[in-house]
């Protein structure tokens, strides 16, 4: 069995917020990411899903060292990234890249597409030959489905879908081994969304990338992931292979998330009067519920859930779940 390229162990990120006036300043802690662990293999895609505010973006930034972790380790090829000094971390960034959510805002409007894509090359290889850079940039544009003769155009001359392709080209130009995509398609139209998902899948197959795909949309994640990590209030609720997760979720939160996703079929929609979805909103991060953090919204909550924190434990089939009642609940989803 090959070794995982990335091993995240008990990673935690805490933000401090201040309230009150100057004299009665109070500190409050927000546990945005609260002890997340997972492994990722080369060529594998891990989907990270959860509602807004669950900490999925914070987690991806902490893995790349864009945010400082308060606890835990990020082991990349056997090396702990959280302990690296700035310069060594900078060198590692060649291997670790990210694609951001808003394709237009993440591109500098005053740089041409070519300059944007080539910038990482100039940063890491300042002595590289100009022609070589140019060739690599044009090659990269072709790979992501842009026309190389658009190299001198500015971001506003491209559509949002094309801007996201520029973002992907920029992140791939250094030949990274890990690519984190933070909601890469949520700002795009449906017809364009499918193009970008297919592109990412295709690139991953060709380049053997390890991919982390952060999204709130479970149906998008289903199409690109091998395994899925379901997050709620900074904690992992379930980590499972896709086939099983979508057939029979083990955690009531996963189940509720799935039942909330509408299906584009009027008859099925009428049948599935979605009975057990989530009521209420996610609790305030300052008032974390005791016991299981999901218990106050969980339709299957029992006494024990209000007191005992369920650990993320390994099930017989190798998947992970954090629920006391995982064995006795049957949350099968009827799927065609």
């Amino acid at each position: 069995m090959n070794k995982p390229v990335l091993r995240v162990q008990d990673l935690a990120v805490t933000f401090t917020s201040f309230t009150g006036g100057i004299l009665q300043r109070q500190e409050r802690q927000i546990r945005a990411v609260d002890g997340i662990s997972f492994e990722l293999f080369a060529g594998e895609t891990l989907g990270i899903v959860g509602e807004s505010g669950c900490g999925k973006s914070t987690l991806s930034r902490a893995i790349l060292g864009l945010l400082e972790a308060n606890r835990g380790r990020v082991m990349w090829m056997g090396e702990n990234l959280t302990k690296l000094d700035e310069e060594s971390m900078r060198q590692r960034r060649k291997e670790l890249q990210i694609v951001f959510q808003d394709p237009v805002a993440s591109l500098n409007p005053r740089m041409t597409a070519g300059d944007i894509i080539a910038e990482p090359l100039w940063t890491f290889y300042p002595n590289m030959d100009r022609l070589q850079v140019d060739e690599r940039t044009r090659g990269m544009m072709k790979v992501v489905g842009l026309l190389p003769n658009q190299i001198n155009r500015y971001p506003h001359e491209f559509s949002t879908g094309q801007c996201q392709r520029i973002g992907i080209a920029r992140s791939l130009v250094l030949n990274p081994r890990l690519l984190i995509c933070d909601e890469p398609v949520s700002a795009l139209d449906v017809s364009i969304q499918a193009q970008i998902i297919n592109l990412l899948k295709d690139l991953q197959n060709k380049l053997g990338l390890a991919l982390i795909f952060v999204a709130h949309d479970l149906s998008v994640v289903r199409h690109i992931s091998d395994r899925v990590l379901v997050m709620y209030m900074g904690q992992a609720m379930e980590v499972a292979v896709k086939e099983r997760l979508y057939r029979k979720p083990l955690h009531p939160y996963t189940n509720a998330l799935m039942k909330s996703v509408p299906v584009p079929d009027p008859k099925l929609a009428a049948e599935a009067r979605r009975d057990s979805w989530l009521t209420g909103d996610m609790p305030s991060p300052f008032k974390r519920p005791k016991g299981c953090i999901f218990h106050d919204r969980c339709p299957y909550c029992v006494k024990r859930c209000e007191v005992d924190v369920p650990a993320l434990r390994r099930m017989e089939n190798g998947d992970w779940v954090a629920c006391h009642r995982a064995e006795d609940l049957d949350l099968s989803i009827i799927m065609s």
Binding site: E51, Q162, N198, D202, L257, S260, P262, D281
Partner: protein, 341 residues
Amino acid sequence: MTLLEVTGLEVEFDTPEGVVKAVNKLDFSVDTGETLAIVGESGAGKSQLVMAIMGLLAENGSARGKALFRGEDLMAMKPQELNSIRGNQIAMIFQDPMTSLNPYLSIEKQMAEVVIHHRRLKKDEARAQAIEMLRAVRIPDPEERIKQYPHEYSGGMRQRVMIAMGLLCEPDLLIADEPSTALDVTVQAQITQLVGELREKTSMSIILITHDLAVVAEICDRVIVMYAGEVVESGTAEDIFYSPQHPYTQGLLASVPRLDQVMEDGLHAIPGNPPNLQDLPDGCRFRDRCEKASEQCLEPPPVWESGVGRTSRCVIPMEGGRLQDDVPPADEAEGGEGPAE
């Protein structure tokens, strides 16, 4: 009974780069108690078309055509007349619940304003009605929460407040522009269910503008699909989902990732990008992205029709359809110039 009938609607914007035609000769109608979905991608003109009907176009926009609401033309009305209908008989819910509420005013003030203005209610009566409406959209503890400000509400709750505000005057027509797009799926499901329940309880008509076909499947009776400012296909929800005729509708349906299905060979993607409205291709506007395009598509496509409100704008004949005698009207077509604002 027809509540709203729109004919020959055109919307144009005067921009430094020239005139942009956002909506081109659009016809549709909404019956009492009916939910109509207007579906399309960004730039299809779906939001601008309702803005034009409501007289809310930006300053550089202008609209032509007719929008008969109970027989009266909204487009020909003076602003005062329109003001007595807007918010009263026709309510609108905007896309972004975060920015549509005034952060400086309490929820009470913002909600009461609506009924005080339109119904001339006293302050405490208005407050009582606002509380009742908040309860109807399931805001917990409405007597207390009504005193709070928008920032004290979550995104889903703000959208509920927007819906409650829209419903305060018991409108005959509710226009919802992407009401659940900015929300999480879990909250989205709650909002969709709420709209569905309201629809069953009242005889209110709803126009739902969205790009999300799955939401359409849940609550809509009829659907019109727009592409680059034109209606490419219209029909009942069953027509659109089970026997889509236009290649664009077919492509759109196939490109939606579904939770209940896995496409092993990847998602179907419509190639290319939506056209630039300033530089529209002659003939069929979808031509460049269409798998079935042929020479014929260089000419403007005909409109096929079968039954009431079932149309497809394509050279490919519609099953059981006949050609609509769509003689392009001459420029002196009837319909007065609508007010720009």
